[in-house]
């Protein structure tokens, strides 16, 4: 019951946030003076044709009505125009790109696996390496491992991922010829090639962020290790491995989960940048292409989708949070997951 109520509160909060963000985004993109209909009305663009194109795309309505249409479209799908020229956009419809003649949802579905592959793999790697290095640094405090983890974290914060990525391509791709220099192979096509093409992007993104997590984990670990319950665990005669792995690590992971939740947006940005470095055609490439061609429905669709994604992922992190720390009451968890 408690868990259910917690879930319901968090879900409601998430939906509220999504609504606010989508209204703001929609307002920003549709209230600023730009005319998406003009771009696709062709030349010569007579006022009649412009009005026709505008009505067809649904831009002639007031923006709030357009926004509501958009929301309904996500749930129930949309239709543009009528007769022979009618366009169907099945639910969940995030808009329709009249330039590419494709629903935004389909475009996102086509491109998302690339971005997800980069982001999820990198995140897994950086959490394992970061937390692992932090724990080792804390346990072997003051040794070479400890010091190098600290130095590396300062460098990791300062080096742009694309620069390190390009140097990685130069060294491992061109000079040593051990990894491909770019491109993406779908997982369904060849899992080995998929992995092979992603090794370098993952390593670059993960190592730079792992350094920050190593620093955080180290600090937390040192604090936790001086707590009374750790002394109790040791006094009970538990093995050091168990003391650190079970008793200490759990409390160390709580702040790590908090920071990770905040880093999800950055992670997505990192994936977008990696796409360009490693010439992969993911969501970032889709968005940049849309921006270059002022494809407004696609821009809004991709932007809102990314926002939805990050907020949803944050919700998942919150759930992990409540598992990690059962002491957290419902409202506490919601409040402290964002604050620190």
């Amino acid at each position: 019951m408690r868990t259910l109520r917690y879930l319901a509160t968090r879900l409601l909060g998430m939906v509220g946030t999504l609504l606010v963000i989508s209204v703001l985004t929609y307002a920003v993109f549709y209230l600023l003076p730009s005319d998406p209909a003009r771009l696709s009305c062709g030349r010569p663009c007579t006022p009649d044709r412009l009005a026709e194109a505008s009505a067809f795309m649904g831009y002639s309505k007031p923006w709030l009505q357009q926004y509501l249409d958009f929301l309904v479209g996500i749930v129930a799908g949309r239709h543009f125009g009528s007769g022979l020229a009618a366009v169907d956009c099945a639910a969940p419809c995030f808009g329709y790109s009249f330039r590419l003649n494709e629903s935004v949802t389909q475009l996102i579905v086509d491109r998302a696996p690339v971005t997800f592959s980069i982001a999820i793999g990198a995140a897994v790697l950086w959490l394992i390496v970061g937390v692992g290095a932090g724990v080792v640094a804390a346990v072997k405090r003051g040794t070479v491992i400890d010091r190098s983890a600290m130095v590396f974290s300062t460098i990791g914060v300062s080096a742009p991922s694309y620069l390190v990525g390009l140097l990685g391509i130069l060294l491992f791709g061109f000079t040593l010829d051990v990894v491909p220099v770019g491109g993406y192979v779908p997982l369904t096509e060849s899992p080995v090639d998929w992995l092979w093409h992603l090794v370098l992007p993952w390593t670059v993104l993960a190592l730079l962020s792992a350094a920050v997590y190593a620093r955080l984990t180290r600090g937390q670990m040192l604090e936790v290790l001086s707590e009374d319950y750790i002394r109790t665990a040791r006094a009970k005669g538990l093995r050091e491995r168990r003391v650190i792995g079970r008793h200490a690590l759990r409390n160390v992971l709580i702040p790590v989960a908090t920071v990770f939740g905040l880093d999800l947006g950055t992670l997505l940005g990192g994936a977008v940048i990696s796409e360009k470095v490693f010439s992969m055609q993911g969501l970032g490439a889709l968005l940049i292409d849309a921006v270059g061609n002022v494809d407004l429905p696609l821009i809004v669709g991709v932007t809102l989708f990314s926002a939805f994604l990050v907020i949803f992922a944050n919700f998942l992190v919150d759930l992990v949070y409540s598992v990690l720390d059962p002491r957290m009451s419902l409202s506490d968890a919601a409040a402290s997951s964002g604050r620190n």
Binding site: S158, A159, P160, Y162, L264, V272, G284, V291, V302
Partner: protein
């Protein structure tokens, strides 16, 4: 008559003067010196490139082979072109890099100023007034904090009005997304200050919000603001570089490190020096600000003293 606030960080036993502490930190000093050097380069960019004899805009096909590659070793490094030339155009890379420092610093400083200003105003007022205003602001900060801002900033580029200079647009958007961090810290400190005896005393003596905010709160927040400003600058420089790298930042022909790094992708195998020079400049400036910021924080904030060895 209400007395002014005493400094919040009462001297502890081993506390040294912040400046001496800062100067004793070798890494912070190295960072500070590097920042100064780059700042001088940025200010004197036209002078430096005139000294070398080139500007960052003129094409020079004589420095290129038929394939568009620079003639000579290391991307065409010579007494004529100190850092070599840009492939395909033959523009002087030294001139591009030193002028690029101007772009980075201009955008970095301006965007930092904007986000610190918003962050301090929002943070102080949220902490001071509390109530529903604080709740809304805190929630907003939470949302903005984990936001995929890069995606948003890329998207904004498409609908920005044409009369708005792109550089100003970048300053505005990255500045507007950069304030939640400082706002959260300042809010927390304001809440802590609220409980301090001197603030309670000033309030009891009948001081109004204007006096409290200006004479009691702000002087005690100055060191935090300075530290955060220093630590925000490298992030802003990095944000501008990332946008320019993606091709949605500072438009050509204005020199920008990020854009040159982005263009270097196509030449990374044949002319790696085209990547190395702007890349090294960007990395060094970011590292310098981070080292200096860390040192400044350790010197000004006694609580974190000794976390770095």
């Amino acid at each position: 008559m209400v007395v002014d606030a005493p400094p919040v960080s009462a001297p502890t036993r081993q506390a040294r003067h912040p400046l001496r502490q800062l100067l004793a930190d070798r890494w912070a000093v190295a960072g500070g010196v590097t920042i100064l050097v780059f700042l001088l380069v940025a200010v004197a960019a036209p002078l430096l490139s005139a000294l070398e004899g080139h500007d960052p805009y003129t094409y020079d096909t004589n420095a290129l082979t038929g394939d568009g590659l620079p003639i000579g070793f290391g991307g065409g490094i010579s007494t004529e072109h100190w850092f070599g030339v840009e492939p395909q155009t033959g523009r002087d890379l030294f001139a591009i890099v030193v002028h690029g420092a101007r772009t980075s610093f201009l955008v970095g400083f301006a965007a930092t100023a904007l986000s610190i200003l918003i962050g301090v105003v929002v943070g102080v007022t949220a902490g001071y007034f509390g109530g529903w205003y604080d709740r809304i602001v805190s929630r907003f900060i939470d949302v903005l904090f984990g936001f995929p801002w890069l995606v948003f900033v890329i998207a904004i580029g498409a609908i920005a009005p044409a009369w708005l200079p792109k550089q100003l647009l970048i300053i505005l958007v990255i500045g507007l997304f950069g304030w939640p961090g400082i706002a959260r810290v300042i809010r927390g400190q304001t809440l802590a200050l609220k409980q301090r005896t001197f603030v309670v005393a000033a309030t009891a003596l009948g001081a109004g919000p204007g006096h409290l905010l200006r004479r009691q709160y702000l002087p005690n927040l100055v060191s935090t603001i300075i530290v955060y400003s220093t630590m925000t600058i490298p992030g802003m420089i990095g944000a501008e570089a990332a946008l320019s790298f993606l091709g949605v930042g500072v438009p050509p022909p204005t020199p920008a490190w990020g854009r040159t790094i982005g263009e270097a992708i196509a030449w990374v195998q044949t002319d790696p020096m085209f990547l190395i020079f702007p890349g090294a400049a960007l990395f060094l400036v970011t590292l310098a600000f981070n080292l200096f910021g860390d040192g400044l924080r350790d010197a000004l904030d006694p609580r974190t003293r000794g976390t770095r060895r």
